[in-house]
């Protein structure tokens, strides 16, 4: 049963519900998904507002208050240069969320057309593209990201690009598979029979119908991109200071782990929570957007 048919059936019983409305209702009923969504929202709001309203700048040093533990004036303590960890943590959340989102934009811009072209062109074009995708899958992805990052340089946008240039293959493969299965469906045949050109069918019929799985994949792609950036920054070839990044904070704090473990603990917890939140949200979206997969 396709999603389009789902809509027809539900409309017969409950005329005012759309596919997306139904999905949203299912999402809200999923407790973990709601927890994930709320956490993502909270982190996003805090990432926007904490650095604005904090009495400290994220790069502001205070050499009279170095490596202090948590206190009322510094909620999460200070680091080896006397910078406020709380402020840095949420400035780092900005970096992480930006990585998560911009990488997915790049992934869509590259992966979606390539997958669509492969599926709709078929034949030799499809074969060539998919063999290339296979080769990309054979690479250990973080190592390839590291190599591309070495070529592109260390600006934050180039790091987005490096991760995006490796991650697009998932979307390309998904879009191709979706279109291949959808283009044999009756509604696509009907559109073809009425003389609609291929590009029109892909854009108006096939891609909108694949939107659910694409959204789910994108949601799972966000934490992976966030982790990739944190890993790059942790090994010292990611985001350059002074831009705060959780990976860099862990790297810098690690040398002091015995004297000031909070410097490592807080960014590690933040990274864990944000990844957990996106995974919960992704799980919920998958169940909500594809009710057939529900157990």
């Amino acid at each position: 049963m396709s999603m389009a048919e789902d809509v027809v059936q539900t409309e017969a019983v409950r005329p005012h519900h759309t596919l997306w409305g139904d999905a949203f209702i299912r999402l809200r009923r999923n407790r973990l998904a709601v927890v994930g969504g709320v956490l993502v929202l909270l982190v996003a709001l805090a990432a926007i507002f904490v650095p604005i309203f904090s009495p400290y700048g994220f790069a502001q040093q205070n050499l009279d208050a170095i490596r202090e533990g948590p206190s009322w004036s510094h909620l999460f303590g200070t680091d080896e240069l006397g910078r406020d960890v709380f402020t840095r943590l949420f400035a780092g959340a900005r970096t992480s969320l930006m990585v998560g989102i911009f990488v997915q934009v790049i992934v869509i811009v590259i992966g979606l057309p390539i997958g669509a072209i492969a599926a709709y062109a078929g034949g030799r074009t499809d074969n060539l593209i998919m063999r290339f995708v296979d080769v990309m899958y054979a690479f250990p992805d973080i190592l390839l990201i590291i190599l591309i990052r070495a070529i592109l340089g260390g600006s934050i946008y180039m790091i987005f690009l490096a991760i995006g240039l490796v991650a697009w293959v998932n979307v390309a493969r998904l879009v191709r598979g979706q279109i291949l299965s959808l283009k044999e469906r009756d509604f696509a045949t009907a559109a073809r029979a009425m003389g609609a050109p291929g590009r029109y069918i892909v854009w108006r019929h096939l891609l909108p119908n694949s939107l659910g799985p694409i959204i789910v994949l994108i949601t799972f792609g966000i934490p992976r991109a966030i982790f990739a950036e944190a890993a790059l920054s942790y090994i010292g070839i990611g985001i350059k200071p002074p831009t705060p990044s959780w990976g860099t904070m862990i790297r810098d704090g690690y040398d002091l782990i015995f004297s000031a473990p909070h410097l490592v603990l807080f960014p590690a917890i933040a990274l864990g929570i944000l990844m957990l939140a996106f995974t919960f949200l992704g799980d919920g979206l998958r169940d909500a957007l594809d009710p057939r997969l529900r157990r």
């Binding site: 390839l144 590291i146 942790y234 862990i250 990274l271 957990l276």
Partner: protein
């Protein structure tokens, strides 16, 4: 089966050639040469180094020479450790990476399968909720973050385990757990779902109806069938484990291949980078091939020809 194996192996060779070519091209795009150090080397030295490493030749000549070397098991020279070749360095790191990976994988199976089984046998019990909670948690938290928590708990707070290094079993505990937690979570999830699925099949009811003991039904009928999907997930996980170990190696200062790679990137050691990427791609491809062949052994319904 043989035909399938040959065809797959042939395809692996082509993919590895493509991986080598792409890596080789990318390395030539990296700005700055391998000899860019803090102090500039005299031009004569650079020229001699270029000749020694064949960098004075054309791109395709260099690539050809590299491939010719690989065929003879020679991955070329390291750019940093100028008296050693990459094969040596990788072989030195390999046992550490392999021991870490295999320990983590065994841990994942030893924890994951019983956890999933317990959850499925007592569905909706406390054990089940506990199992689902932990598999959800560890499936989402990266091993790197888990590793940091372990270090803070067991090294910093309790002073029970060393923060890293290599050589004693004690030093293996935390990295193996950090690396194995994610596959353990996946395996537990799949085992649970798969057992629940198989338990509902007619042949299980038949087995019980004909009066077989519960233990026989469990092990011979349910588990044997339920573990096939587990193998499906465990294979790619093992491959993922091999490739993902580099950050765990870095965190726990284990001198395996992953850490060598990271050092290679810092020192612009193209020879080492090339070797490490090829090694990982090769290992992942071989593991996937072996797993695919194992399916046919485990599940006689699968035929490849």
């Amino acid at each position: 089966m043989l035909k399938y194996t040959v065809r797959r192996s042939f395809w692996i060779i082509i993919v590895l050639l493509a991986v080598a070519f792409i890596t080789f091209s990318l390395m030539h795009l990296v700005p700055g040469g391998p000899w860019d150090r803090e102090k500039t080397l005299p031009p004569q030295v650079v020229e001699n180094l270029n000749i020694k490493y064949g960098l004075d030749k054309s791109f395709f000549e260099q690539f050809g020479n590299f491939l010719w070397g690989v065929l003879q098991g020679d991955l070329g020279l390291s750019y940093t450790y100028q008296d050693r070749d990459v094969t040596d360095i990788i072989l030195q790191g390999l046992p550490k990476t392999a021991i870490l990976g295999i320990t983590a994988f065994l841990l994942a199976i030893i924890i994951g399968i019983p956890l999933g089984m317990a959850a499925a046998l007592r569905q909706n019990s406390i054990i089940d909720y506990f199992s689902v909670f932990f598999s959800t948690l560890f499936a989402s938290i990266p091993g790197f973050v888990l590793g940091i928590f372990l270090i803070i708990l067991f090294s910093v707070t309790l002073h029970l385990l060393p923060t890293g290094g290599w050589g004693s079993p004690k030093q293996l505990i935390m990295p193996a757990f950090a690396l194995g937690a994610l596959p353990a979570a996946y395996i537990a999830r799949i085992t649970r779902a798969s057992i629940l699925e198989v338990s509902r099949q007619d042949y299980i009811r038949t087995a019980r109806a004909k009066g077989l003991r519960e233990r026989v039904v469990m092990f011979r009928h349910i588990l044997r069938n339920a573990l096939i999907p587990v193998l499906t997930i465990a294979g790619p996980e093992l491959a993922f484990l091999i490739a993902g170990s580099f950050i765990i190696e870095t965190l726990f200062s284990i001198p395996g291949i992953g850490r060598l790679f990271v050092q290679g990137v810092f020192q612009r050691d193209y020879g080492l980078i090339m070797g490490a990427i090829l090694f990982y791609a090769f290992a992942v491809a071989i593991v996937n091939l072996i797993v695919d062949l194992l399916y046919a052994v485990v599940d006689p319904r699968i035929r490849y020809d």
